[in-house]
Each structure stands twice: as structure tokens, then as C-alpha cells.
Amino acid sequence: MSFLFEAGHRGCAGCCDAMVAKFVLMAAGEDCIIISPTGCLEVMTTPYPESSWGVPWIHSLFENAASVASGVEAGLKALGKFEKTKVIAMGGDGATLDIGIRGISGAFERGHDITYVCIDNEAYMNTGVQRSGATPFDASTTTSPAGSESFGNQRPKKDMPAILAAHGAPYIATCSLGYPKDLIKKVKKALDVEGPTYIHAHAPCTTGWGFDTSKTVEIAKLAVQTGLWPLYEMEDGEITSVKKIGKQKKPVEDYLRMQRRFKHLFTKEGGDEELKKIQVLADKNIVKFGLE
């Protein structure tokens, strides 16, 4: 099988961004244009004069992928070339939830027929694992480090799907590289729905989270099985499907224990209190999304 995402990119061994990008292109096919903001995916795939992209691809800045995508869509429409070509903005959590949120809000409010895929590895990885708006509670990053007085990041993840649902996006879905077939199905659906659609893909990062390069998929599944990463679809703001975890349900510890960014919860005094708090977060998701 040939892929529209080529080998030779500089992603770390076991790179989550590479996997999600590969899956998205499996869903989109040749007739798409990708717009990426600055980030690991961008930098590891396009060291001039090389490119891993088998489809038209453009990078402008860190915070304007959604705006550039709006322009691509408008330009294609103006030139009468917009029949089937899918316009996809694809970037990391920092570029999407933090610095690029203004552009996305504008693009979604204007209703451009684009799909935005957020590859959420929960921190600014290319610059060396600094905290982002998507960094989970109690995760240690270089700018929200665990310390004698700290259990790491004290804020919950920003709920981007809810924000874009509030923009009236016709289709939103969370997915995970741990369930590639589900991810590909949802990306296809997002591409087929007219108007601004959003895919929020969970992507465990071996370098940033501190786990062995072979565990990327295993950890992604655990995030889902513990309820910390609920898989659901929303159409016109309503939840229309959910992936039940049922008897697969695992305690958050199984997920957290495998990651260096949560090591302090198992070594520091008071760690088990924090573990309980995280379990509460997971249980809330299970109730809210009806995961059981």
C-alpha cells in the first residue's frame, strides 16, 4: 500500500504526529490541500528542499493555519476549482487551542467549508515540552514542572470541541491514534460534511510524555479505556455517538503510571490524593458522555 505521507521525515521514533498525519491522508486521499501551522509535524516533514507531503501543502505561520485555510477555500471557490478538493488545516494543540484560536474562531464563525484536525499531544513538543492549554491536570512539563511545592500543571485541559460546538460547527469528533480505523472513519465524515468541521485527535508523544517508543498506541488506548479521553461525535452541537468503554474500563493509574510526566504522582508525598482527583475527572467524563 502506498501512502501520501512519505518516510524520511525527522519525527522521533514512535512519533504520534506522523501517525495521525498518515491516517488523515489515508482518509482524505489525493484530492486535498493541507495547511499546517508551525509545529513538530511541520518542521519534521519539510526541511527544504525536502517534503514528506504527497499532497499540496502550505505552511505560513504558527497562529494562522485556519485563516490560511479560509483563504485557500475562498480562492478555490473564486477560481471555480472547489468541486471535490478538501481543504484541511492540521496542527498541534498549541497552534490550535492557544495561539491560533482567534483564527479558528473566525474561520468557524464565517462557516468556511474546511476541516480542522488538531493533533493533541498535550504540550508544545517541538520547542521542548512546554505547557499548553491542552496539557492535562497534574502533568509535569518544562514550564509547569513538578517540584517540591508543585504537582505540575494545575489547570484542566481546555475543552476545544465544546468551544467549536458553540460556534455552530455542524460536525465535531474526538478520536485517538489508538483507534486508527475510528479516526479514519471520523475524518472521512468530517470531510464530507459541508461547513467548518473539527477533529480532535489524541496523540501520545514518546519524547514529551516519557514512555518507551513502542508504547505510543498502547498508551493512547489506555487514555480512552480510563475515560480520560472520551471518544464521541457531535452533530450540530448534540452528541450523536460515543465509544463505550464498558468492561475494558481501567483505573487512571494504569495510564498515568507508564508516563514520566506523571511520575511525581507515584513518588511524591500526597501523590495518591492527586491520583484520586484525576480518577474523579475520568469518572465525570464517564458520566457526562455515558461511556459505560
Binding site: 499532497v55 499540496p56 501543502w57 505561520l61
Partner: protein
């Protein structure tokens, strides 16, 4: 060749400067307009929106972006798919675009933008000066400055022609003074659609985002290759110098109107004192010169039309016989106490044998009015320099000491 106006009244309409520019954009057949409102540019984007609503701009999409940052960012995408792109902004909006200005030029996307020049905050001020565009002079954008409505309107077509030239392929700012030109009504000839179709070829870039030929745009360049990208941009700016003249001459052939190419000279042949200036103050200076000439003062004007690329040769040829030169700036580089036109003119003369005194006078900041008397005062100062040398090299010429 001196300025050639078209004063055929039955071809003229009395319109607002902004409307004239909006009309010009329309007849240049843009494919994507993407702009965010900001005084004093708003009438341009409002008029364009009405044209769109009335179906007067076919094959065009108008994006009401949520910020100037996205105004230009969107056009990166549109231009890359091969669409002719237009935007308009000023002051705070232009400063917000700073990061993308470099990016658009570096990616060689010939986007055209009208700048309705306005002062930069703080203190916030919505009136005219040229601090905004001048402070973007290093971003790789061509910068042209118009003297009046007719030129501002016609400059739009010229900007597209220059920017989209395959030997240039750089974005361009067509600058007009906010309020003084954007909001003034005066008779002018609206850009003729049939003539523009003859003058301006359709935009057909060599490389586009095309699923049938999937290329990558915007890759990163490491230390081994970055310099050569910048060198090629500078080469494109060098190529733009003759192209700006060519675009002005071609415009004259097709439309019969001419405002100068890189520069334009007024009464400079025998001038002992030459004033250099950009934008609408040029008109006031011309009136002042006529008055002073009547009194036997040998004074002339060098209108600098292209600030980027900076027309060194054209400037030197124009001023080489003068006894004193005064560069007039509606901007200041704080810490140097000089306006950019003055600094760059003076610097360009250093290694030449042209060695008359050159002084800089900053006026009209934050929309302060520039009456003829201010220009006369500057000419007097220049006359004193001719007699007894430079006393003050660069200063404000319209400062209110009492407020300090």
C-alpha cells in the same frame, strides 16, 4: 516626463478617495478580497462590500476576517492557489500584520494592499502620517506613495502589474494618506475597465497549490540555504526598479495619465533648494513653490513615489545640482531623531561626490495640518543653510514649544 493629468471634465466624477480606490480594485478583477475594518480605510472595504453585494465583482470571494492578522493570512492561502488577492489596512492593523508581511514576501506572493496611512499608537491617533508603512520598510514589500486621488486610484492597477511581474513576484503596498486622500472628494477619472483589461494581464503564477501537481510551500530553510532566499528577494526588489518605471509608462500609453515612475520632479531644473517628500503634502508643496518662484526663490520638489525599492539613482540624478536638499518626513525613527526619507537619502549620498548639505524636517505627525506657511518656513531654513551652513540637521518643523 512631467505629470500628465486628464482634466477632461466629462470623463470625471467627484468622488471620495476611498470610493475611487475601491472602484479601481473592482476593475482589476480580484479573486479574493480579505480585509478588516479600521479608520480611515473603512470606506474602501465598505464600497467593495457593496460592489460584491451588487454582483459587480464576478469570480471573487470577500472574506470578513476577524482581525488584520487573518486578513493577510487568508490571502497567503488564496494567493498560493493562484487567486489575485487584495486587502486594505492602516496603522494598528498594519502593525498587527508585521509578522505576516515578512512571510508573504518571503513566500513571494504578489498580494496588493492599500494603506490609508495613519499615525501609530500610543498615543492613539486616527489621523494621517506615514509612521505605519515606513516602519514596515524592511518586510520585503514594494511601497508606492500617491500624491492625490487620481494617482492613488490608478496606482492600484500599477501595483498589481508590478507585483505580479514574473521578474518581481513581490507583494506591494499602495499608500495614500489617511483622511487627506481617503476621505476627500474631488473630481477624478475612475479607472476604465476596458483599459485595465488591456493594461493588466490575468494573474497566472508558475507554482500553485494544485492537487494535480502537489507541491510543498513554506518549508523551513536552515543556515545552509536561508541567505540565498533573502538574496533572491533583494534581486526581485532590484528588478522592481525598472518595472515601476515601465508600469508608469505603460499606464500613460494606455490611459494617458502619468504621475512619475520611481520619482517625479517639479521645478527642479534650476532649483537651488530642493524639497523631497512623499504623499499628499506634495500638492501643498507645489503650490508653495509656485508662490515662492514668483518671488524669485529657486526652489523645486522631488516627489519620491517609490520608497521601496528605494530609488537611489533617480534621487541622485534629481538633486545633484541643488545647493541644499530638505527631506520632509511624516515619520520619525526614535533614538535617531530622523525621518526615514532623510536618513536613507543622506546615507545614500555619503560615498558619492554629491556633497551639498542635506537636512531633515519632520512635519504633519498625527494629522497635524501642513499649511503653506509651514513649507515656506522650511524653505527659509533651507535658504539660511545655503548662506551659513547647517545649524540643525534634523528636527520637527511644526513643533509647539509651548506644549513641552
Amino acid at each position: 516626463m512631467a505629470v500628465i493629468r486628464d482634466l477632461n471634465k466629462d470623463k470625471m466624477d467627484v468622488v471620495e478617495g476611498s470610493y475611487a480606490v475601491a472602484h479601481s480594485v473592482k476593475v482589476c478583477k480580484p479573486n479574493v478580497i480579505s480585509a478588516y475594518p479600521i479608520t480611515p480605510q473603512t470606506h474602501i472595504v465598505e464600497d467593495l462590500s457593496q460592489f460584491m453585494a451588487d454582483g459587480e465583482i464576478p469570480n471573487c470571494e470577500y472574506i470578513n476576517v476577524e482581525s488584520e492578522f487573518s486578513a493577510l493570512s487568508a490571502l497567503v492561502g488564496s494567493s498560493a492557489v493562484g487567486a489575485r488577492c487584495y486587502s486594505a489596512t492602516t496603522s494598528q492593523g498594519l502593525e498587527l500584520m508585521h509578522e505576516i508581511l515578512f512571510n508573504v514576501s518571503g513566500m513571494r506572493l504578489p498580494i496588493v494592499m492599500t494603506i490609508a496611512n495613519r499615525a501609530v499608537s500610543a498615543p492613539i491617533n486616527i489621523w494621517n502620517d506615514q509612521q505605519d508603512s515606513i516602519s514596515q520598510r524592511d518586510t520585503g514589500w514594494i511601497q508606492l506613495y500617491a500624491e492625490d486621488l487620481q494617482e492613488a486610484s490608478d496606482m492600484t492597477a500599477q501595483a498589481f502589474k508590478i507585483a505580479e511581474d514574473k521578474d518581481v513576484m513581490l507583494p506591494a503596498m499602495a499608500c495614500m494618506d489617511g483622511f487627506i486622500l481617503s476621505h476627500v472628494y474631488e473630481p477624478m477619472v475612475l479607472l476604465e475597465q476596458d483599459l485595465v483589461d488591456e493594461y493588466l494581464p490575468t494573474y497566472a503564477p508558475e507554482y500553485t497549490l494544485d492537487t494535480k501537481n502537489p507541491l510543498t510551500f513554506g518549508a523551513f530553510a536552515d543556515p545552509e540555504i536561508y541567505t540565498e532566499f533573502r538574496y533572491l528577494q533583494q534581486k526581485a526588489m532590484d528588478n522592481a526598479l525598472p518595472k515601476i518605471e515601465e508600469a508608469a509608462n505603460d499606464f500613460h500609453k494606455v490611459f494617458g495619465r502619468y504621475y512619475g515612475g520611481l520619482v517625479d520632479e517639479y521645478e527642479t531644473e534650476d532649483a537651488e533648494i530642493i524639497l523631497m517628500a512623499m504623499g499628499s503634502v506634495v500638492g501643498t508643496i507645489k503650490d508653495t513653490i509656485d508662490g515662492l518662484r514668483a518671488k524669485g526663490v529657486k526652489v523645486g520638489l522631488l516627489k519620491v513615489r517609490s520608497f521601496r525599492p528605494f530609488p537611489v539613482e533617480a534621487i541622485h540624478n534629481a538633486i545633484k545640482n541643488a545647493k541644499v536638499v530638505v527631506a520632509i518626513d511624516k515619520n520619525i525613527s526614535l533614538g535617531l531623531n530622523e525621518g526615514a526619507l532623510f536618513t536613507e537619502t543622506k546615507a545614500s549620498l555619503y560615498n558619492t561626490n554629491i556633497d551639498m548639505p542635506v537636512i531633515g524636517r519632520m512635519i504633519g505627525h498625527g494629522g497635524r495640518d501642513i499649511p503653506v506657511s509651514t513649507i515656506e518656513k522650511i524653505v527659509d531654513e533651507a535658504a539660511n543653510v545655503m548662506k551659513s551652513g547647517i545649524s540643525v540637521e534634523s528636527q520637527y518643523a511644526d513643533l509647539k514649544e509651548e506644549l513641552l
